[in-house]
Amino acid sequence: MTTTKQHGGIGARLRRGVEPAVLLGPGLLFYAVLVAVPVLLVTGYMFATRGRFGGVEWELGLDNFTRVTDSVYLEVFRESLGLALLATLLALLIGYPTAYAIAKLPPRWRTVALVLVVVPFWTNFLIRVYAWIVLLNSQGLLNDLLVGIGVTDDRFTLLYTPGAVVVGLVYSYLPLMILPLYAAIEKVDDDLLEASADLGAGRVRTFLGVQLPLTLPGVVTGSILVFVPSLGNFVVPELLGGGKTVMVGNLIRDQFLKAQDWPFGSVLAMMVVVLLVLLFLGQAWVTRRVEGGARG
């Protein structure tokens, strides 16, 4: 005589659901209101039109999208991409050797080095940008140095140029490049490098053929961590670029806080987000390829 009674019935199943609900509920609700809703709102704004006294009027259309294709804005976008890419590349060129060097330090020194890398990052962002304003100023130390060495006779302005913006971006986010690179380099098994040498590859070949490919996920992560905030940045272009270098971030900021054209600003912001998503997908793909190995 057997019964096919459901285990404890509905009561038990409901009771089992209480714990996940209590754990996940508040946080997800909080997110839903403060993250999901804002993002949806901005997405919706893309199709709306600006209100006459600021804010938004819900007259839907695709005007904002066509406006974006205006060459002025495309130019800004192109320049932003260029500067962000340049900053990322420089960060990579500086960051990789540095991360490699740290990985080769004796263990105790490694922690010290990593702490030293992180400390500037935790110092107020604006202060650090300000430091470069001081350094790059035409009366500034850097100029003094260059004149002193004899590189140049003039006092030229390093400040308020695209170059200054790039330097500022690199400086702000360099630690974010170094840390993932360090993690990736540190993971590479010494045996692989030695095997490469044993098989006849020189230092350069070993680097290009073994180390670089294996640390690629770290390169990608670091690059994204520098590229994304660089692209959306408005503080650095404003303070170090002096308003002459306008990046997407400045545009977005202006639309929201000055020109009060929120719908248009939303489109610009969403373009950045879409780019971001594509980058993340690319990163996941690269990581799978490198770590998936035989399956890939």
Partner: protein
């Protein structure tokens, strides 16, 4: 024997995989029961279902006639000894053991007394204030055991209790567990993949494969009268021969075989290897047409020499069907 636990047609699937397929069995009071099978056979799922950490899709589990599945794990009069022991690292041995008693809101004096008692029972009286990290594997296992026993559950579940121990300790613990079970008088249900372990400790064994019960019987019955090919092959060593009928196999146990002159036995072959093991000898015979050597266990020493031809004869053999239940 009164029935304590009844499992009735319990099923559980994970996606496409049927971890438990209409499993039914009953366990008696004061029994030392084993759930035996290869990994993935569902034994751990069944154990965890009884403990309350897995939830069957259908079927019922009755403890002393009452619906067990309706209760959350902390309300079941059942306790589980985890394979990894799961000792709380931030609590002392005594605090670990007292943990379950505190949840019952017993008086402090009573808790202290029972903790001391059980520590004595498992022989760890001196370790009360140590932390788990300071104990050896065998000691940790005893703490885990003590922690479960002290609550005097009606049923004690043990998930691969000996797997983490090294061989010498394992043999000792097998005896310990048996002794403990008798002394404390609790029904033990042990999950293991090691058939030697199950055979030596359990009063009755349920052999599982692919989520289904293949056979439930005493060790002797399982050995002498396996229900199917799987059980015959899983329990002890066996020589399998194609059987009389279609889909049937003949199971010949090594100790049932005698070595005779070539031509006088049912099979003929060449001695591949002999090992003297003290009380018995093991002889492996290569028989043409068989992949694996035919295994023979003889009392005492043997005169069989490598390379010579011998005949194999036996009287007792069991016929089993192929396939699983």
């Amino acid at each position: 024997m009164t029935t304590l636990l009844e499992v009735q047609e319990v099923s559980r699937s994970f996606g496409d995989v049927r971890a438990l397929d209409d499993v039914s069995l009953s366990i008696a009071e004061n029994e030392f029961f084993a759930l035996l099978g290869p990994s993935g056979c569902g034994k751990t799922t069944l154990l965890r279902s009884i403990a309350g950490f897995e939830h069957p899709d259908s079927g019922a589990v009755l403890l002393g006639g009452a619906d067990l599945l309706a209760l959350p794990p902390n309300k079941r009069p059942v306790n589980l000894m985890f394979q990894s022991y799961a000792l709380f690292p931030h609590l002392s041995v005594a605090a670990n053991i007292a943990y379950g008693l505190k949840r019952e809101r017993l008086a402090k004096a009573e808790i202290a007394q029972r903790v001391a008692e059980v520590l004595d029972t498992v022989g760890l009286g001196a370790m009360a204030e140590r932390r788990p990290a300071q104990l050896s594997g065998g000691q940790r296992q005893r703490v885990a055991l003590a922690r479960a026993i002290v609550k005097r559950p009606r049923l004690l579940l043990l998930d691969e209790p000996l797997s983490a121990l090294d061989r010498k300790v394992r043999a000792e613990m097998q005896l310990e567990l048996k002794r403990l079970q008798h002394e404390v008088g609790i029904t033990f249900v042990v999950v293991t993949h090691d058939q030697e372990e199950a055979m030596s400790m359990a009063d009755r064994i349920a052999v599982l494969a692919a989520g289904r019960v293949q056979q439930v019987a005493t060790p002797l019955e399982l050995y002498r009268q396996p229900a199917n090919l799987f059980v015959a092959d899983f329990i002890g060593t066996s020589n399998l021969l194609p059987g009389p009928g279609d889909g049937e196999h003949l199971v010949v146990r090594p100790e049932a075989v005698r070595l005779v002159a070539p031509g006088e036995g049912r099979l003929e072959g060449t001695v591949a290897d002999t090992q003297f093991q003290g009380g018995t000898s093991s002889v492996a015979v290569d028989v043409p047409g068989r992949e694996r050597p035919f295994l023979v266990t003889l009392p005492g020493a043997t005169e069989a020499v490598r390379g010579t031809s011998v005949g194999l004869a036996w009287e007792d053999a069991v016929v089993v069907r192929e396939g699983l239940a």
